[in-house]
């Protein structure tokens, strides 16, 4: 969209997108038409934009911006970079590239009716990573495996099941009952006993789900009875779990078949997909999808793995069926295929108008940057409803860089708590350095006086280190690791703190961050905020790290702070002190996550707006 705005401004530029056009894009991505479905977005966008402005110079790259080909030299060719990304990894990466190349960056996001735009300039403003963004919500293993209480738990379970049966098996995506669930134990000793007992039984732990399924020939009825009868009956034996919870009720394939009634087709006016299915209908859906997926696997040959895709009907049907059957077992209201698709597919609703507003704002900020008027740049939030000061669009002064930012500070440094005996080198690389700290190709040296190289970004060089623990290399409490990502021109010093006391399912903790809290139950705005910052995957809690980026149009919906009143007209609309509304005071508490809370009482109290006492800095969205 801002491609078309920019053309009016008459400049040359490049656009990069790895994605192709889908029919669901057409309700808002107006540079594309039906005939373009399947083609490269970057390429078609260029062609359409050239229609508006044949004289402008556009280069299109059908590629990922994280490709090392787009190095600092590449970025330096541009006067300005504008992001319209849909995942945090890419945003972090571009943030670093722009810092390295010292090019101004305009960041933005949108979701539904909300959106925001901001400007990032090295040394002048906060970078994208100065403020920790809430990480995507994940659920504890035992909630998924033993005690689901919400439909989303069942959907996550069903997606794990898909991977266990048809895709890449992941040790963190277990679906069988968790015998080591601390809640299940009457006495602490019980937990250990149960764990070993099931090993002896052999059915749960020893044989992988995929192997077992293969041994039955992926027989739907057998799969069904294991997952929805036997495993549930096992859960029932863990009686402590059901003391205060409603116990699950197992299903039996044969019984259901015998008592099956024809599915009522409701005469409702909804989409076909919006109808909730009956239990036998779900059984049939389960059967059909298993059979189809089984053939897909067979066709692909030996050692094949399927990747879950919401746009692949049998894959979605499978998750719909499995999740709903589990919801039924656990006495929850079931969800229609339409809703399951939203939740499982992390679909973020998006419309043309919101994106038009955000695109317009991006261009306006861009024009300021290009005219050298950086001091007039702002962060601007788009709300659904006007706030108490009647603002629908809220400009906020940009914050200066954070001195302790682990990306843009002059000597970035972090401290990480982990267990040096249990954390492997591979885990350090993938979970901590890449996932958590956004590096693409880290090189790690231990500050041990010998410059021991722990991880090399060159393929194959340090692969033998991967399965070893950090302790094996002499890393212990207080050790320091020098980490470099040469593509991002980023050097980070990691201080290691050894601990044996991490929470269950938690592998490491970054010191100085508020622990991940579930957002308080609130208006849509809070929900959207937890989707915040462009993590496509975090529209719902992580259901798969390997799922390809889904919907476009991301949302940094950080509908945060109030702004300065720089009316510029006259004394009758007096300016107010802007500093009072900024959340600098929050920095002391270290509760950085609260900086983004709208309902910040301290800031509201500090607001010395000459206007009203009723100004709570609360933005009512509803």
């Amino acid at each position: 969209m801002f491609l078309s705005n920019c053309c009016g401004a008459g400049r040359g530029f490049s656009s990069i997108d790895l994605d192709t056009i889908d029919v669901s894009n057409l309700n808002r991505q107006f540079l594309f038409q039906k005939k373009h479905v399947g083609k490269s977005k970057a390429q078609v966008a260029k062609e359409s934009a050239l229609q508006f402005c044949p004289t402008v110079n556009i280069t299109a790259y059908h590629d990922s911006i994280m490709n090392p080909e787009y190095n600092v030299e590449f970025f330096r060719k541009f006067m300005l970079v504008m992001n319209a990304l849909d995942n945090r990894a890419a945003r972090n990466h571009v943030n670093r590239m722009c810092l390295a190349a010292d090019i101004p960056l305009i960041e933005s996001g949108s979701a539904g009716y909300l959106g925001q735009v901001t400007v990032i300039k090295k040394g002048l403003t906060e970078c994208y990573e100065c403020q920790p963004k809430p990480t995507q919500k994940t659920f504890p293993g035992c909630t998924i495996r033993n005690t689901p209480s919400e439909p989303i738990h069942c959907i996550v379970w069903a997606k794990y099941l898909f991977n266990q049966l048809f895709g890449e098996e992941d040790a963190d995506q277990e679906v069988s009952p968790d015998t080591a669930d601390p809640e299940a134990a009457w006495n602490p000793e019980d937990t250990a006993t149960r764990a070993t007992a099931s090993d002896k039984d052999g059915d749960i732990k020893r044989v992988s789900t995929k192997e077992w399924a293969r041994s039955t020939g992926y027989d739907p009825a057998k799969l069904f009875n294991k997952l929805f009868k036997d495993d549930i009956m096992y859960l029932l034996t863990m009686d402590k779990l059901w003391k205060t919870r409603k116990a699950p009720t197992p299903l039996d394939w044969q019984q259901l078949e015998n008592s099956a009634r024809p599915q009522e087709v409701s005469a409702g006016s909804g989409l076909k997909d919006q109808q909730v299915l009956g239990v036998w209908g779900l059984c049939q859906l389960f059967q059909r999808s298993v059979e189809t997926l089984r053939s897909q696997l067979q066709e692909k040959g030996e050692g094949a793995e399927l990747v879950w895709d919401k746009d692949d009907p049998p894959a979605l049907d499978f998750v719909t069926a499995a999740a709903n059957l589990r919801m039924h077992i656990f006495s929850m209201n079931m969800k229609s295929p339409f809703d399951v698709k939203s939740m499982a597919g992390n679909i973020i609703p998006a419309i043309a108008t919101t994106n038009a507003v955000i695109a317009g704002l991006i261009v306006l900020e861009g024009l300021k940057v290009l005219s050298g008027e950086l001091e007039s740049c702002r962060t601007i939030f788009l709300n659904k409803c006007p706030n108490l000061r009647k603002k629908l669009l809220i400009p906020c002064v940009l914050d200066p860089p954070s001195a302790s930012c682990y990306v843009c500070a002059s000597q970035p440094e972090v401290t990480v708590k982990l267990n040096v005996h249990k954390t492997t080198v591979l885990s350090l690389q993938d979970r901590i350095l890449k996932e958590r700290f956004g590096m693409v190709a880290p090189d790690v040296q231990i500050e041990d006086g010998k410059g021991t190289i722990l991880i090399s970004s060159e393929e194959g060089e340090t692969e033998t280190n991967n399965s070893k623990s950090l302790a094996d290399f002499g890393i212990r409490n207080g050790s320091r690791l020098q980490v470099d990502d040469f593509l991002q021109d980023y050097a980070l010093l990691v201080n290691v703190l050894h601990t044996e006391e991490l929470e269950r399912d938690v592998e490491f903790e970054v010191v100085g961050e508020a622990p991940d809290k579930a957002p308080p139950p609130q208006s849509t705005q809070e929900e959207v905020k937890s989707i915040t910052n462009g993590n496509k995957d975090s529209a719902q809690p992580s259901t798969s790290f390997k799922a390809p980026a889904e919907d476009d149009d991301i949302m940094i919906v950080d509908s945060g702070e109030e702004e300065e009143e720089e009316e510029g007209a006259s004394s009758s609309t007096a300016a107010t002190s802007s500093g009072s509304k900024r959340k600098h005071s929050d920095a002391e508490t270290g509760e950085t996550s609260t900086k983004r809370l709208r309902t910040d009482q301290s800031s509201a109290a500090a607001a010395t707006n000459d206007d009203d006492n009723d100004d709570d800095d609360i933005i009512a969205l509803d």
């Binding site: 309700n27 919870r245 609703p349 419309i351 409803c385 009316e567």
Partner: protein, 348 residues
């Protein structure tokens, strides 16, 4: 007219469901059906008009009539992306038709080359909503009066350089729904335990709450009496954009056009004069609105058209679908500051 929709054609086709998927997931199927049954008139295909046209066509209204008697100029091509650069000299509505239609073949897009002022009253009655851009103040007032008598939703909007506004009149009794989270009552038996007994907000269930809003006419909105005590007291919180709008509408009436960059010196002088006169006539302080805006109100800036067109487009969608609280009754955008405010002007 909108209420008859559901009897017309309750089924959404697979093609529509696929294309509108991401918006149906936002505003729901009912809203989409109402849009599908709505006919809209859009007058003025300048930069703002093109943005509104694009937004409504993508949203999936039943029909959109593009009404414009003007010809395509070189400047139109810059701020307006529906008109091909080769179309200079053609009628603007006609030139916008092809690209407009291609945005969404499921919408019936028409081009009409007549002047708005020449249209008979009953012309407007075939529409559920009318959106006026580039019209004179008197014309807007007249059409607003006519339409609101017949329960037709009225929208006005313009972009002047970095500035833009939107006005709407949805009638005295505009009803709509809002989606709210549902409170779930405890169902449990005593054997279920304390957890099951608590009432909670079910994050997955929502309910629709019916609401009503009332709007005044454009005439009333523009003819606010600023000499009353109440008006004077509220002055501090009043966006000066409202007065800027008066100045620009007066200019348009006087000159029959908007400020032209090619006539910058004379037009600036005239704007200054009009500013003084307007503030005096309205009996408000001459300090209220200074001359700064004058340098920045020439020409339609395309990003400003995008912002105002986005807000205006969404208001039309909301009104037609009768879902979500409408902005009442003006929206002003200042593109230099990035400020967007909603405020009500009219009798209380």
């Amino acid at each position: 007219m909108i209420d008859m929709i559901e009897k017309e054609d309750p089924v959404i086709s697979e093609e529509e469901a696929a294309q509108y998927d991401r918006q149906i997931r936002l505003w729901g199927l009912d809203a989409q059906k109402r849009l599908r049954g709505s006919r809209v008139l859009l007058a003025g295909l300048g930069g703002l008009g093109a943005e509104v046209a694009k937004n409504l066509i993508l949203a999936g209204v039943k029909g959109l009539t593009l009404l414009d008697h003007e010809q395509v100029t070189e400047e139109s091509c810059r701020a307006q992306f529906l008109v091909p650069v080769t179309a200079q000299g053609q009628n603007r509505a006609q030139a916008s038709l092809e690209r407009g239609q291609n945005l969404n073949p499921m919408v019936k897009v028409h081009a009409d080359q007549d002047r708005v002022e020449d249209k008979p009253d009953d012309f407007f009655l075939q529409f559920d909503a009318v959106c006026l851009t580039g019209c004179s103040r008197d014309l807007m007032v007249r059409i607003d009066q006519l339409c609101s008598k017949h329960n037709i939703k009225v929208f006005c909007g313009d972009v002047y350089g970095y500035y833009g506004y939107m006005f709407c009149n949805l009638g005295k009794e505009h009803s709509y729904v809002e989606e709210k989270p549902k409170m779930v009552k405890p169902t449990g038996n005593s054997s279920d335990g304390p957890e099951a007994k608590k009432a909670k907000i079910d994050p997955n269930e929502t309910t629709m709450v019916k609401k009503m809003a009332s709007f005044c006419t454009l005439k009333e909105a523009l003819e606010v009496d600023w000499t009353t005590e109440k008006a004077k007291a509220g002055m501090k919180r009043t966006p000066v954009d409202y007065f800027m709008l008066h100045v620009l509408l007066t200019f348009r009436t006087d000159k029959g056009r908007d400020p032209d960059p090619l006539a910058f010196p004379e037009d600036s002088r005239l704007l200054r004069k009009i500013r003084e006169d307007v503030l005096e006539t309205l009996a408000v302080s001459a300090d209220l609105l200074n001359d700064d805006f004058i340098s920045y109100c020439f020409s339609e800036m395309s990003p400003v058209c995008a912002v105002v067109g986005g807000v205006l487009g969404q208001e039309v969608v909301k009104a037609l679908s009768q879902r979500d609280a409408p902005h009442r009754n003006f929206f002003f955008f200042d593109g230099r500051k990035g400020n967007g405010v909603v405020d009500y002007f009219g009798p209380n």
